[in-house]
Symmetry: D2
Subunit: 374 residues, 4 copies
């Protein structure tokens, strides 16, 4: 018997969320093949993952633009096929009806949780996955209230602004018994107090920062250098981003969050620190597209100097959206198997996996398969 | 107790062989770290592989240039450090003394085997690995004598020219009880008759075509596309090669051998045939260097078109030489464990592995480790 | 007083022609800025070039697809803005009415000329420019009839198939008193007999092979190396083309025509022959897009080896179409000033200029300006 | 009759200076062809430029490493041919004898001028050109003493530190009747007070910031976009530099000087401001090499988006050194023709030309030829 799974998107009117909702509808209607959908690979055929048709979408956002309008903008920008917004208008409208106003005040946390409970009630959802696809936040200063659930709840009761928005949403999600995923480099659930809450509520969480371009490449190429015993001397990168993501990341504080995620993969895979900077430039005229250039200088036998250069040209929303659907489906599995706390087996999807995830995409894929479809 | 292992190189005066011999001497003398040497990775510390100091070099070649002179040319071209030829002059001279004149006639096969036996006797070698690093041959037309050892030996007795040079050397090696490795795309031991001989003699063989650049990259990137369910529409490549290898491969017949090897990795890893050509251009002024450019056009979610471009700039001999030393050491292990026939676990090193090797470098590395250091 | 100029396109239903017709309509209607239009640069403001609104379009083609349908295909492929075909439907229909069936038989030459005369009559055109944007032909074998107008006309009278299609059209155009431009590498008017005809008829002709990508870049970069006294050792290139052009050029004979054009610019600009191959690959999934990668190996002071790599990613029709409009307008100027024979000052537009054109884009631009707007 | 020309290098023991001195000696001795030497192009055969054999080298530096040792380091790093330092040892020693200790105090200015006068006396030099190849300085704050020669000399008499080192050297050079060239982005002679001095002394000066890589390419490619009426939407760049230059430019203040020079060429050539950042990263392991990647996003006909990417891999000293010799020879011409003040015709060599220089390398080359070899 089919069962409805809730997918609650923080940043539900953004490019990634809109593409995910429109894309799920397109796939359900047979208008497109599940290209980019890991959960639909033959390897996971027997994993018991929910079908796309079982997903029900809702979310929070602080902007009011209807999904139908965002979808038209994305079609104009070449992210969605030109005809798609009209063909999936009903699905977009249904999701639009389930979007509630977002929050930035700690006093809102009860309302956020209530929104989630109402969503589950209205649709008879036994499992709900909350996924953060909102704009990246700047890094957050440590605070004593982050250290334990008791301290955190005391601070929240006093209305102290100790949590960034991503963590408020995570708190509300976990408290409401939902799974929580951070697809951004924001703090989200990555605080001891929230880990404690997830374990207490027996719900899973995962993150951070979806791996959709430069870091995805680094996660397959760095192991290659390691396995061939070639020594990476410097790995430099420049990312040109248009769209809202680029504008947000043009802020140096926010870029710091992003860069921290990006820079983890190399020392993890290589076993030593690597020289080289990563730049993120906002190039408005790129629109929804992004370009990453990487330059790797490495040493081979007897000191020979050699280089590898990469240029990755992608559409960020088209890369991220199917992974949102994947994460909803894999987290639904984690919820159904009663697995509390971090799910490091989802490290395959992230730049900066929470929990013990092996370095290297191939090993992460093996871990995912081992867990989901043993 | 230390034991001497023979490494017999077909094409012993070429760039790869000279770099391997000079490099082994440099590493033994502590003049360089074992960068590029897979066998020296911590993963293989307990595998019982022979040390570099246990390798004794010899080989066949049809040219007469002394190794010391080749080494100076390579130092001038930037492949070897400027001072190295002088510092390892004794080792080069010792290997030079063990180089015998190569052969292209089937009537020479007994002499080739005798050269191997003499080499083993002179140095008290219990195990000898023959490695083909000679110029690539054109593809070979099928012949009934290739089908069984009896038919082959009958043809050889009659002096019929049924085998290309690489296979004559393979015959001589296997008949002499040596392991045989083909680091080129030439035919080598990849004939049913020679497989039969290897099993009869209870010796291992491996190949073909060392994976040192474009194909190495393809073997890590193609699995990434597969695991992310992204559909590769076209994968195009251009290789610019200087040096002797480039000149040889400028011949369309010979390039056909090379291209056949190169093109296997993509359908193996992706599971479907992929559009796109591979060019190999001889660019004399590149000298010992090579440059590969790959352009990958792929489809993501909802039909989005995206691209990845790669430029790999390497020194062919510096990439190949440490793998020659690795193959000698891993084949010594295969010889010592009495493993006859193909060694597919060495697929990690090859473009076109003989035997059942998983697609993808990560899986091949895992298979190598599982076999050599379980 | 405004005056109508005829633009007669050979291959009038192809991508380039359709984009040119739709684009001229868009610019006339103020729907787009004249980006890509050289004739609209301030440098040519006083040159007396006809306005876009003075151009009347017609042409020959052997296919029947209506322009409106081709325009929709191009909008779907991202070459034209999505709404444009509907907005310029009347202009497309008007041009469609002026497209006649093309010809490949020499017996058709009178009919082709009659089509041109009728076109001029119907619209009261004093000047007509015929521009070949049809598929590239294979190279043509020399024939004695190419050597003089008398010999050619004798052969044509006997129905001898001595001319390729592009030259038949050129013959008809010149005979009808029209200017003729070859935007392809086909033979077109580049025969002594046709040069004689152009001079006799006192009409201009120009060509060959529009410079829209790799060769455009070469024509600015090769002079840079020359002026800095840097020695180019090898200049290699790979072109990946989708669309009809790519399919045509996948034929080795036809590619030979293209490559001959492409390879002229380097020795012309550098003063010495340059090593390096140029590949043209058909990659169907690229659609209307093309990608060119160039690798330049050069020598600097004291033998230092350095490299430049370029990747050009363009839309062929979007690059070519404004040049078609430019050529129509500059050729109208040549017609009005009574200038017979080749117009080498248009070498700025071509890979393989007919007549004495300076090497290097900057010098070609200066020559164009000097001629058109002294 | 041959005549000796003095070439006095500020930063005389650096990589560029050492390569220039060693290279001039190599060319004089016939050990290398004048690759990279603009003054030796046929276009300048009749310009009356001094021969390389007429140049006598000296300079200031604050470090003590002998030129012979620097040359060996450069040979080891692959900048100079391995044997060259030994072959030109006498020339290096002769130049070494003419290097005096540099200065950073305004009180030293008389001593600097005296060093120049002594140099000229010792060698009977009628003309001396001072060229700054020292490390780039941070931008200098405006000061009232920069505005007139009288104010400047008053400040210098009082020992006020109003000038950066590059301008102290420029003051000393001009006061001593020498030509002055700034090959760096430092201030040098680019102050009204120093312009006044140059005109009073009737000596020429030129600068700033030698154009040897990314900006050289921009100066040929930006005009191409302009002449083809293509609209550049964003031009982004990343420069990876090793060596001393990279380390200096890793300082954000100093990089500001460099970036200001680099960013001028685009608006000058295109006629409008262009989006896009330029990064300069220090990558120590690149040694004497540098790599620049540029990404150009441009708009064509009807809004089509297209891109050009460039990767330039060069050896900074090998690119700069021949231009130092060129500038010495062209400035000797300016001195001999009694041309006071800036020499904008040398804009061909600079990122940020002093005086009215046309945008675009081709126009700059034409201006240089017109001036030097009319």
């Amino acid at each position: 018997m089919s069962e409805a799974i809730g997918v609650w998107l923080i940043g539900a009117r953004g490019s990634v969320a809109t593409t995910a909702v429109a894309g799920a509808a397109a796939l359900r209607a047979g208008l497109a093949a599940p290209v980019g959908c890991v959960a639909d690979l033959p390897d996971f055929a027997g994993a018991g993952l929910p079908a796309l048709s079982e997903l029900v979408f809702g979310g929070h956002d602080v902007v009011q633009t209807p999904l139908s309008k965002r979808a038209e903008q994305l079609a104009h920008a070449g992210v969605l096929p030109p005809d798609l917004p009209a063909l999936v208008a009903a699905d977009l409208a249904a999701a639009d009806d389930e979007i509630r106003c977002g929050a930035r005040q700690s006093t809102d946390v009860d309302r956020l949780a209530a929104d989630l409970a109402d969503f589950a009630d209205r649709h008879g959802l036994t499992r709900v996955v909350v996924i953060n696809v909102a704009s990246t936040e700047p890094p957050v200063a440590p605070h004593p209230a982050h250290g334990s659930l008791a301290a955190l709840e005391s601070a929240l009761r006093h209305g102290d602004p100790v949590l960034p928005a991503s963590s408020l949403y995570a708190y509300a999600a976990l408290r409401a018994g939902c799974g929580y995923v951070d697809f951004t480099p924001s703090t989200g659930a990555a605080l001891p107090a929230l880990d404690e809450l997830a374990r207490e509520m027996r719900v899973p969480y995962a993150g951070r920062d979806g791996k959709t371009g430069e870091t995805l490449l680094r996660s397959v190429l760095a192991p290659m250098f390691a396995q061939r015993a070639l020594r990476v001397l410097a790995w430099s990168g420049t990312n040109l981003l248009g769209g809202g993501d680029g504008a947000t990341l043009a802020d140096p504080d926010t870029a710091a969050s992003k860069n921290r995620s990006k820079q983890r993969v190399l020392p993890d895979a290589l076993g030593y620190p690597v020289d080289g900077e990563v730049h993120i430039d906002y190039v408005a005229s790129l629109g929804e597209h992004k370009t990453a250039w990487d330059h790797v200088l490495f040493e081979g036998f007897l000191g020979a100097r050699m280089t590898l250069q990469l240029t990755w040209q992608g559409c960020d929303s088209a890369l991220a959206a199917p992974l949102i659907l994947d994460l909803a489906r894999f987290m639904a599995l984690a919820l159904s198997t009663g697995r509390p706390g971090p799910v490091p087996e989802l490290g395959f999807f992230f730049k900066d996996p929470i929990g013990a995830s092996p370095p290297g995409l191939a090993a992460q894929y093996a871990a995912l398969r081992e867990w989901a479809a043993p």
